[in-house]
Symmetry: C2
Amino acid sequence: MISPNRAKRPEDYRTYSVMHGLPELDPNCVFCPGNEDKNPDLCRDICRIPNTPDWQLRVIENKYPAVTKVPLGAHRDFFHSRAGFGEHEVIISRKHNEPVALQSTLHLENTLQLFKQRIDLLGKDERVAYSQIFHNHGKEAGASLVHPHYQLIALPFVPPHIHGEVAGYYHYYQTHGTCIYCDIIKMEKSLKDRVVYESERYIALCPYSSRLPFETWIMPKHHSPRFEWSDDSELKHMAFILKTVLGQLYTKLGDPPLNFYIHSMPYIRGKHTQMEEKSFYHHCTIFPRIANWAGFEFGTGISINIMPPEETAKFLRDRLSNI
Amino acid sequence: MISPNRAKRPEDYRTYSVMHGLPELDPNCVFCPGNEDKNPDLCRDICRIPNTPDWQLRVIENKYPAVTKVPLGAHRDFFHSRAGFGEHEVIISRKHNEPVALQSTLHLENTLQLFKQRIDLLGKDERVAYSQIFHNHGKEAGASLVHPHYQLIALPFVPPHIHGEVAGYYHYYQTHGTCIYCDIIKMEKSLKDRVVYESERYIALCPYSSRLPFETWIMPKHHSPRFEWSDDSELKHMAFILKTVLGQLYTKLGDPPLNFYIHSMPYIRGKHTQMEEKSFYHHCTIFPRIANWAGFEFGTGISINIMPPEETAKFLRDRLSNI
């Protein structure tokens, strides 16, 4: 529900900086260099940038995992349950006080490479159906530690939102014979008013049904079901557009608390059907946590968004030259 | 997903008081007595408690409505939209600094009576399909004003969560020939470990699939599809159990930010079928806003709850005598 009657301009949502006044290294932070022994690396080699003595990115197991490597299992009585099987990893960026928005494009590119490697690796376990990568920045966005990090949760089932997207995708494809995301991009490019930024190979846009103020999607401009299938050049371009959008949010809203996550096609084992290869379209969703969900949202499942996507896109486009 | 591995006890989630240090009357508060002229009453008569000179509860139009009385309409192009028709009311409780948990049972009973009257009245408009009543307490729970109030939003469609419950209900009824909520209550009464409190006619329990820490449901012990069908005696009993649960949360967690809402059967016009009369079961859902939804929850639609319902129920049962 888009309800823009609060009469606030986008710049009125400027917040305090999540990272304000933090040092580059905090000896008390378990994610900071010097405390590596408290959290053993899961993959030391691939996280090192060639020709540097120090790590720039690390992967560790979450100390308080939401899911663990328990045996698969289910209990069926009046109430049903499943065993909490899965893997819960944390990907740490080196500098304590450097939010993703301020990291170099090269560092972001390496981060995306690492996402790809971990998601590929987790998918080799046949019990895993889906891996969700996400980033929480700031307390209001659910981050318990301020040090920049990502989380990766591998699950033995496809989560409801991804399942819903797959089902919607199939339905649209069956009805129209085309990809809904390709059609959305074509439409948004012609309308222009919800496009934030367009590079040679990627596009950033504010979705028509934005759930939250300043919600922005990043998508490749070529049909691409799975994030992990991106090649080096694609990841380089994706890093650049991610940095562009996060940079605009950082500059214009004052380093707001935010989340982002990537939706990708669920793992498929064996030979892919043509339908499967054509299906889905990976995309990265970004939103600052400026408006809090209230009783209405939790009660009804409807989000009241006080910031129309056209206004958000205009606001984020400002001082970007290629639109 | 219930993930109780953060090794915190329920009492560790004690928060600051939302109402700390506030006066009983704040002349700058638009909801306080003295500022009535800024927001005209929608129904002065029924909000006055007989034999008192002053109002105890008021109903006004929301100054920043999420929906308004625009003509019904829909636009169908590549993107679809519907006109934002609806009504958005605010129900105000008199005292600026008296959270619902500390209000008298009589005042709560009058509040529930007022909910019933407003929901009944809104339902007389045939364009309205559902009315959602909800309460936001504290900034983290989405309340923009601290003065205790409720909101009521009437919509021309049945919201996704209620639609989902109706669909699930029908499916269960078709399969088993019984009411799922009646069966849940029977089961919970026999298991006991998720029951918080049981009065003669109502029960409070922590649901098996609790989405959020300390989530609690209040339900009548007799089959009752629609909240508005409750009679005076039922509303009295409901007020008492609501006060009991909110009082326990207030005492044990320190007046936490919280939401509650009531789910009721959507409006049905004309003669009810037996199926419809048997269907649904109204219930009130309460949860403090102690854990913030993060990227994982928004990305997947799965809520990670670090507090098992059995532990919550035990914690809230403590020093209540009838279990």
